[in-house]
């Protein structure tokens, strides 16, 4: 297995976010200063330069497959929508005076409503937006700033009961709230007496995981009112990723990526795989449909791992600069990295 340089491109500032279009044709990359570039995945040629947000862009997110639509959130308190085909601005939702820091498209269409919906958080505000930038729903303000968002794919099936709508999880200091994706009702409030930096659902919808300030990882099985706490991290946990089978949970807070086995009763009492970096891990992600885990660090080291193997390290590369983000292409064959100096690196992963 080997990582080969495919292409590289330069942004005007720190690469604050990047994301592959669901059809795999484009890589969108946002600079912290504001502009968003759309690169052709095949050769790295710039398709479009979008102005983004004048005061700085924080986050970007592609709409689900079937829509070549990119959403962005900025320090201007707005969510903007961009038609990636034409490179045109398609709409703006003025959400708040606070920074828009979290965006998440609902991954599955709702019942009787096939239009995609985007959850957006700015300060204590949480809203659902339609692709035309209109407001679908405004949730009651959270007591403190919304710190992370995650949609459940589908709830786990339960025998004899109709499958409920999936949940939208939104955290603030002190709790994680679960909202019904269809009725928008608050379904549960999971207390957590510290700051939550990241949220992730397992793809099968069973586990909800938070990466915490304290520093720890907390796991819930909301359907069974069960919860676990895994601590011992070097520093606050900001990075979480499940593998597509929902068995492996990769987490990082410090110099080790720590992979927990979430099969059966979960990771409690099990030894995690500790995947070491020389410098703090700054990004990690499992492949979309395969089992490789990519991790990258402040020192620019990139590692590929098969966490279930006895010798988990599969490939290594070194980038010249601190990695800020990484993302697998939808076909899992390319890995994109953003760096502090604003360079986008795309590597090919050859088996």
């Amino acid at each position: 297995m080997e990582l080969k340089k495919h292409w590289a491109a330069r942004l005007d500032d720190y690469a604050i976010d990047l994301a592959w279009s669901p059809d795999g044709r484009f890589l969108a990359a946002a600079s912290s200063a504001g502009p968003i570039s759309l690169f052709q995945a095949a050769d790295g040629l710039r398709s479009h330069d979008l102005p983004g947000h004048g005061q700085g862009t924080n986050i970007i997110a592609w709409a689900p497959p079937g829509n070549l639509l990119l959403a962005s959130g900025g320090q201007d308190g707005a969510v903007k929508f961009w038609d990636a085909g034409s490179g045109q601005h398609a709409g703006t939702a003025e959400l708040a005076t606070d920074w828009v820091e979290h965006l998440a498209w609902r991954p599955t269409p709702g019942s009787g409503n096939s239009s995609p919906v985007l959850a957006a958080a700015a300060g204590r505000k949480l809203a659902l937006l339609r692709p035309d930038a209109s407001l679908a729903h405004a949730f009651p303000d959270a007591p403190k700033t919304v710190s992370a968002l995650a949609w459940q794919n589908t709830p786990p099936p339960r025998s004899g009961e109709p499958v409920p709508a999936p949940a939208l999880a939104a955290s603030h200091f002190g709790a994680v709230r679960l909202f019904d994706a269809d009725s928008f009702a608050l379904r549960k409030e999971l207390a957590y007496a510290n700051g939550v930096n990241a949220l992730a659902w397992s793809p099968d919808g069973r586990w909800l995981v938070s990466g915490n300030q304290d520093p720890s990882v907390h796991l819930w099985i909301p359907a069974e009112d069960d919860e676990l706490q895994m601590s011992g991290y070097e520093s606050k946990v900001k990075h979480l990723s499940f593998d597509p089978t929902s068995r492996w949970l990769a987490t990082a807070g410090g110099r080790d990526a720590c992979v927990w086995d979430c099969s059966g009763p979960g990771p409690e009492g099990r030894e995690p795989a500790m995947l070491a970096h020389e410098t703090p891990v700054s990004a990690l992600a499992f492949q979309n449909t395969h089992g490789l885990l990519a991790t990258a660090s402040h020192g620019g080291e990139v590692h590929l791992w098969s966490p279930e193997r006895r010798q988990p390290l599969r490939a290594t590369a070194r980038l010249p600069d601190a990695v800020t983000k990484l993302a697998w292409s939808p076909d899992d064959r390319m890995l994109a990295f953003g760096s502090e100096k604003g360079v986008i690196y795309v590597l090919k992963c050859d088996a």
Partner: protein, 463 residues
């Protein structure tokens, strides 16, 4: 990479904080600064104003308010790191009423904050004309003085020099280590405010010299040549008396602290035989003052020797016999330097041939004060850590600031640390090299027990 220095700017509305802020924003200082305007929830980077969230207090440690930090700041500061060109500094303006604690503590919260930022200085702008009234009336302004590393006595043109000196003296009683500048329109070189390198205790010359003097359980001593025989100690003024002798009553200072019962005065009389400065005698007197006292009623007899007498007075006055068997020079140590004390030989008041005022240790004062410790030697790192840990856990609420430069056995480098309430940060900076290993430690807060702090510190010294 070096941490980005952060300046926290505090001050009541109208003190001139905005004037200073505008100067920093508009003057050509060549620094790439981000300014977080807290009152309006705005951040300006390179003079561009950006909107942020509202003030959000996060209690880091099981609801303990002393450990609270500002969640909004963590987010803003995290975002400010996400740029290609590193900032040269961050300036945070806090509201007039905001306790600067949670803002300052934010820089000690997590690895990212600690690694990326350092608290350079807390700068307080005070209205020289009105601050005295505030200090009388509310705790918040006392806290702003106590927390500060740099204090601007602004609008200094509106008060007299004498008032300014008195104000400085009052501020020094709360915070002995802040650098005080007198300004008009906050006009001073910006390097006095930005990038001041925090609190650098090695520049001890900038400290109030009295502050680091050892404290004594007595405030005054006078030397008298006494023949053998029966003499008298007279306390208080007799009517029509000409105030000859030891009397501090007319020095114009207000004395806010009250030293226990005004009808009791502790004294000790020790022989001073050597020609040298009475260092040994002072040491002996400290011991004597820690002993049980012998109570003397008016007319009772005291004798020179290692014995503490408590003179019982009537409305601040009293006469006692002083029996001297061996002629010579004697030191009379007096607990309260304000109480008029006269020695009479054969009915005549004699003047002291030598006298000295001492920096007194005040027992358990609930006002906000500073305690400084400066001692040579080397500390045991583990004992130090245990002590500071316990101290902050139990007293962190009362300790506003703690700063120090210490020498620990485990390292050849200076251990520089500072804390705000229960949260603190310690880093080794440079080698001691040929510099003498001197430990300097400062606490600013309420209910500080100097003796207990000093004892605990000394227990950490390696023998």
């Amino acid at each position: 990479m070096d941490p980005i220095p952060v300046t926290v700017l505090t001050g009541f509305l109208g003190a001139g904080k905005t004037t200073l802020l505008n100067r920093i924003l508009t003057e050509k200082h060549g620094l790439k600064l981000a300014v977080i305007e807290n009152e309006f929830g705005e951040v300006g980077v390179d003079h561009q104003l950006l909107v942020t969230g509202d003030e959000e207090l996060l209690e880091m440690n099981n609801g303990c308010i002393c450990c609270s930090v500002r969640g909004d700041l963590i987010r803003i500061l995290g975002r400010l790191l996400k740029r290609k060109d590193r900032l040269d500094g961050v300036l945070i303006e806090t509201t007039g009423l905001a306790n600067p604690g949670p803002v300052a503590q934010t820089f000690f919260t997590d690895e990212e904050m600690r690694a990326s930022y350092k608290l350079d200085a807390i700068v307080s702008v005070v209205d020289a004309k009105h601050v005295s009234a505030h200090l009388d009336a509310d705790d918040e302004s006392v806290k702003q003085i106590a927390f500060a590393d740099v204090i601007l006595l602004n609008k200094i043109d509106l008060i007299t020099d004498a008032d300014a000196t008195a104000l400085e003296e009052r501020i020094r009683k709360i915070n002995s280590v802040a650098r005080i500048y007198r300004t008009k329109d906050c006009s001073l070189p910006l390097d006095k405010v930005l990038g001041v390198g925090g609190f650098n205790l090695s520049r001890a010359a900038e400290l109030d010299p009295k502050f680091l003097e050892p404290e004594f359980p007595f405030e005054w001593a006078g030397a008298y040549e006494l023949p053998a025989g029966s003499h008298a100690i007279a306390i208080g003024h007799a009517p029509g008396e000409d105030h000859e002798g030891h009397d501090h009553g007319g020095d114009g200072h207000d004395h806010h602290h009250h030293h226990g019962n005004e009808n009791e005065l502790d004294v000790a009389i020790l022989p001073w035989e050597s020609a040298a400065e009475p260092a040994r005698e002072e040491e002996e007197a400290v011991k004597v003052f820690s002993e049980w006292e012998a109570k003397l009623k008016a007319g009772d007899t005291a004798e020179p020797g290692s014995r503490l007498y408590r003179l019982l007075l009537d409305e601040g006055c009293g006469r006692f016999k002083l029996q001297v068997s061996k002629p010579g020079r004697y030191l009379v140590f007096e607990q309260n330097g304000e109480a008029p004390l006269h020695i009479e030989v054969a009915g005549d008041t004699v003047k002291p041939s030598w006298q000295k005022d001492y920096h007194a240790a005040h027992e358990h004062n609930d006002a906000v004060t500073s305690v400084g410790i400066s001692q040579p030697g080397t500390l045991d790192g583990k004992r130090l850590n245990d002590w500071i840990g316990t101290l902050l856990r139990t007293k962190g609420g009362d300790i506003y600031r703690m700063k120090g430069v210490l020498s620990v056995k485990e390292s050849g480098k200076r251990l520089v640390f500072q804390g705000v309430h229960m949260l603190f940060d310690a880093k080794f900076d440079r080698e001691w090299g040929s510099e003498p290993r001197q430990n300097t430690l400062v606490f600013i807060g309420k209910n500080l027990d100097r003796a207990a702090l000093t004892d605990a510190f000394e227990a950490c010294l390696v023998d």
